[in-house]
Symmetry: C2
Subunit: 432 residues, 2 copies
């Protein structure tokens, strides 16, 4: 059987999982790929660091050039993350005639064009199943399984940390800070969770999904995004009363005005598959014009789920399929037609609004009139009797019918200027 | 751009969808496959039949040899269904050097070995994404995306007719016969629904999933199966009280005693993704030893969802990927090691039991003792006060902890022989 030498950059959580799968189940992998895959070298930043695996020290190095410049190594597996020095190592690996398997969503979201151009120049392939949705084979589904479809919309839960925190807040009524603390203690959140909870990580993944589904080359900066870090437990509670759960969604929708993209905490109707995605799980809902709606669900992070996707890619590369897919799809290409992005103001959605209003006669009428004046129609209202110890303000929750974001913003500006309303008002989108 | 001629056998619901996609979106397909796909001929049984599409009559024929024996045609798309004369046409197409794309689950389940041997003999590929789960790319996920995994278990809702009927029975409390009638009126069930409702269709699909996931070559006859046609509304109601919904599941599980396979109405815990699969939707839950649990959800039938999978396969074939996958996987091979099937008696599961017992003191104790005597432990019990007009018998529902099927059968035989119990008792498996 043919032997294929591969090199591994990074031996953190995902890298260690990849090394374990490649060595511990070499028989299975050989049977499915028709090749013996030989992990020739792994490169780490700090040789002294304690690791969860025993790795032959002769194969371990802190010099990435041992992998990048080794002519025997045919596939470079990049699980080190980050942009620098990763980008340079990936570019050099491609220039040296190696295929690249990467789990690095930030790298693709920010430098997809350069990396894919380099791969095309040197006739190599880049595989990146692990970059979105951990072990869920969503990249492959969009590239191959749904190839007969035009994707019309996509809604994705692709950050396990946020979904875990939101599930905790929903199920146990915890405030954000406490739910985050529990997530950190259990290893579902990093010590510095900023890029997860502020929506940046989700936006990276949305940039990749938008490329695959709509051929749209966007940088993270072009995606309006809001995280979960300012979400109030009250809104999760009211959403529940209305029959919804709050999820951090990556949304992409092909509309008349162009492609709508956004990352935001969003109300999702209970009883739909997306609403039932709990804890650290991920899911991607894809609507295609032929297939209708589909959903792909699984563990979005972690050592073995992510390594499952990486090793699946390695098999795909050595079998030769990845090269065919890479060539057929022409992703992140400068030749591709530019996809027009819709202005965020043009987005049409239903909205959940929460105001803190003075407990006085006529206030509800004033707000309803302000909304109506901007063409926004009310679907339902919750106003409870004031709680004991209320400071003269009570919460008013309004669910709207479909409205244009620009109209909504004008209405909210008008309402927030009223002296019977205590700012800031809360506004969340709704996915039915 | 290279042209590839393809022929279509069958122009029923799925075939018509395929013809429409191939002609109406030839640009998209050409872009994604790098070839112009030319539907050269379509073959129908009855030329006089009215169809939902306008099809160039010069390309339409009732002679399948026009497709099977045309040297210009490179890919034969089989959407005619059935075993005869389909099997012969598929075998001849392969012998004539054509790749085959098929949506025919019965054909693969019963004749997979012959067809795949023929394809190997002539160096061709067979692609069959549409045979299970309609538009859901589940075959590809098992073949490629999850290739780094050993699948440990699989639970699938793969018959839209049954799921539609069960959803109606659950949501509206309809009896089976009325729910079936509504499904027929809406086109979700055939005039003769036997193969759907008795579990045969689900068993065909399970045979295919078992081949892909476990390398097990099984015929439908080897799969114990039970349909939904004898399911009582009462059991759906009691399942609901216990927090479960009833789904017709295809189950496969790798256990110590061998591979467990079965098709049966099964209680699924509410709030899990599988329980929320409603109406005509399908879903396949796959647990892999690296990836953990995953779920693939979408429309399991219908013109365009199924055609989406067929055309996806056509693209996969002409790009050349399907040939690589076909060769790497060696499915339905006589060289493959035989997979031991577990005896149904050895299956370990939780069970839902419903007895109709005489409304007399001591009967619950008698039944509990009989179960305990066979090592079956009770998890929960429902016994309501007798309804007005009761005939002296009341329903008793028992949910067990995990038990061996053989013990359960002995206990049930003992209980059914008691004169305080009116037969037959109901027994359904539980998936948590």
């Amino acid at each position: 059987m043919e032997r294929v030498a591969v090199g591994l950059l990074g031996l953190g959580t995902v890298g260690a999982g990849v090394a374990k799968l490649l060595t511990e189940r070499s028989d299975l992998i050989a049977r499915r790929s028709g090749r013996v895959i030989d992990l020739k070298h792994a490169v780490v930043r700090d040789l002294a660091k304690k690791r969860s695996l025993t790795f032959d020290s002769r194969k371990l190095s802190d010099n990435p050039r041992l992998v990048v410049d080794d002519p025997e190594i045919k596939v470079v597996i990049e699980t080190m993350g980050g942009i620098e020095p990763t980008l340079g190592l990936v570019m050099d690996s491609l220039a040296n005639g190696k295929d690249v398997v990467t789990a690095n969503k930030a790298l693709l979201a920010e430098h997809g064009c350069e990396i894919f151009a380099q791969a095309r120049k040197y006739g190599r392939a880049v595989a990146f199943e692990a970059s979105v949705g951990g072990g869920i084979p969503i990249i492959q589904a969009l590239e191959v399984g749904l190839a007969a479809n035009r994707v019309t919309s996509l809604a994705a839960i692709v950050n396990g940390t946020c979904n875990y925190i939101l599930s905790k807040m929903t199920q146990e009524g915890l405030p954000y800070s406490l739910a985050l603390k529990q997530a950190q203690e259990l290893g579902f959140a990093e010590a510095d969770p900023t890029l997860d909870v502020d929506g940046t990580d989700t936006a990276h993944k949305l940039a990749i999904l938008a490329q695959l589904s709509f051929g749209a080359t966007v940088t993270t900066k072009q995606i309006p995004r809001e995280g979960i870090d300012r979400l109030q437990p009250a809104d999760i509670t009211y959403a529940g009363e209305l029959g919804y759960v709050v999820k951090l969604l990556a949304l992409a929708k092909s509309a008349g005005e162009g492609l709508e993209l956004r990352v935001a905490p969003t109300l999702v109707k209970r009883g739909t598959p997306l609403a039932e995605v709990r804890g650290p799980y991920n899911a991607v809902r894809v609507v295609g014009d032929a297939v209708g709606d589909t959903l792909f669900y699984g563990r979005g992070a972690g050592e073995f789920p992510t390594a499952s996707a990486v090793v699946g890619d390695v098999i795909d590369v050595v079998v030769g399929r990845a090269a065919l897919t890479f060539k057929a799809l022409n992703l992140w290409s400068t030749d591709a037609p530019t996809i027009q992005l819709a202005s965020p103001d043009a987005v049409r959605s239903r909205y959940y609004l929460r105001f803190s209003i003075a407990d006085r006669p006529g206030v509800l009428a004033t707000l309803a009139k302000a909304l109506g004046g901007h063409g926004i129609s009310i679907a339902s209202v919750i106003q409870h009797e004031p709680a004991d110890g209320s400071d003269g303000h009570v919460p008013l929750v309004i669910m709207t019918h479909h409205a244009i974001e620009a109209s909504l913003k004008s209405a909210l500006a008008e309402i927030d200027a009223l002296d019977v309303v205590r700012r800031p008002s809360v506004c969340l989108g709704v996915e039915d």
